[in-house]
Amino acid sequence: MSRARIKVLGANELVAVDVNIVTNTITIKDSVLSANDIQFDTPITGTVFGTLLNYKGALDRLGDTVNEKPYNSPPIAPVLYIKPANTFNWYGAAIPMPAGISRLEMGAALGLVIGKQAVAVDEENALTYVAGYTIVNDVSVPHDSVYRPAVQHKARDGFCPIGPWIIDRQEVDNPDDLTIRVFINDKLQQENSTSNLIRSVTRLLADVTEFMTLSPGDVLLVGVPEDAPQAQIGDKIRVEIAGIGSLVNVIVDEKEFKWSGTI
């Protein structure tokens, strides 16, 4: 059992619960509930910042092109992006497949949920600013060039499922050694580990907060491993992070989202 917090649809506050990440169940008072029987909401109240090229393999994929146009040299500072509010999505929900697009990348990311205002923190103390960890599926329309910001590829509605819960920081011994797996229709499609990060969790927090304050409720994604698997309409996606849990979503044609207006 691990201590965690969840947000249930319709509730105003996060609720403290015990979760069993193996059985995917939650204990509240005396009841044991399957995660699939709970209508989760996004457990996030702030801004979600993503980090590009923070897995060694992801940078390796660019190879020598980092020295060629348009990049001209390898990245120095963390390369960040924002997953805006319209992208927020939750456990069990559908990810809309935009019209005219047939495949989406499933970006499996460990999310650091900030617990107190973090300004220019040093590596030694960085983890004390983390309230806990969550799982984020940083969905993207596949794109090869990382020269210009990928708003059109990364900021579409529903492209940021988060959850199912926030595992308390104290439950995780070493965030730099967590196995990450992506399953599509229950078949393993990707396996990697946060041990392959270029900037460790604490280094990343230090380098980011040097110029940008992180506030309680913000989430910093540590990165997406190379070779993100692609999925299509009808696929069930499960992003699993050891010690954190499993985030499950399905991909649905956006035309089936009647509430989102004229498509």
Partner: protein
């Protein structure tokens, strides 16, 4: 009407411009110099445009884009009128960018160009500072350049859309220490306001209090600690900012 959010007397108030003073919602009249100006709205998703004026693109030796160059900004970077922006000691080129800010008023998805203005609540002014030393060619311009704490003055107020006859024909100016350094007109935008709303809403839902910073014309000049930078959009507002140095921050 011109509406501001300000702090006064230990609380946050909404206020309107009233014969050269501010009238708080509770009826008090106060001098502008007596309040702390906050951003005129609490911004939700903020889009910013790069290279949206042909003369500025040329100045930076870029061809004009064929599709809007959009990046996003987070809440940490915004400050109000009469505030302070930090210039780190190690940088050699930090410049202001005077921009018309478009504030969205209602949920927009797949909006047609001809309907776009129906989704605008009002306008304001932003100064989208950039530190060119930190530019790298990954998701350029990246957050270290464009989303720094204190890096984006925004205000002083929101001017209701109905009070702006033609937002595509407004003069933009920047003065540094009273000297004119940047001058342009919104008429020279490559992608105009309706085009930007149509473009963004074509692939995502845009909502109330989302903001579009529409880009800056040419005239980028380095600034120094102590400079008073005034970005102004004709009929919208005059946004004052002061550059401060590392010495103002005792812990780093």
């Amino acid at each position: 009407m011109r509406k501001a959010r300000i702090a006064y007397g230990g609380a946050i108030h909404e206020a309107i411009e009233w014969e050269g003073q501010l009238k708080l919602n509770d009826g008090r009249l106060v001098e502008e110099s007596k309040v702390t100006w906050l951003t005129p709205i609490e911004p939700r998703t903020v889009f910013a445009l790069g290279l949206n004026y042909a003369d500025h693109a040329a100045e930076l030796a870029f061809a004009a884009p064929t599709e809007p160059l959009v990046f996003l900004k987070g809440p940490n970077t915004f400050i109000g009128h009469q505030a302070y922006t930090r210039r780190p000691a190690d940088v050699t080129y930090m410049h202001y960018e005077c921009e018309l800010a478009v504030i969205i008023g209602k949920t927009a998805r797949n909006v047609k160009r001809e309907d776009a203005y129906n989704y605008v609540k009002g306008y304001s002014v932003a100064n989208d500072y950039a530190i060119r030393d930190y530019l790298e060619n990954y998701y350029r311009p990246n957050l270290r350049v464009k989303n720094r704490d204190l890096g984006t003055p925004f205000g002083p107020w929101i001017v209701d859309a109905v009070d702006v006859a033609d937002p595509m024909n407004l003069k933009l100016t920047t003065h540094v220490n009273n000297e004119l350094v940047q001058e342009g007109t919104t008429a020279d935008m490559i992608f105009d306001i309706p085009a930007l709303i149509a473009y963004l809403s074509s692939f995502m839902t845009v909502s109330e209090n989302d903001v579009i910073l529409t880009g800056t014309p040419k005239g980028s000049v380095d600034t120094a600690v102590g400079d008073i930078v005034v970005t102004e959009v004709e009929g919208i507002g005059r946004l004052v900012n002061t550059i401060i140095g590392d010495e103002s921050f005792i812990n780093r």
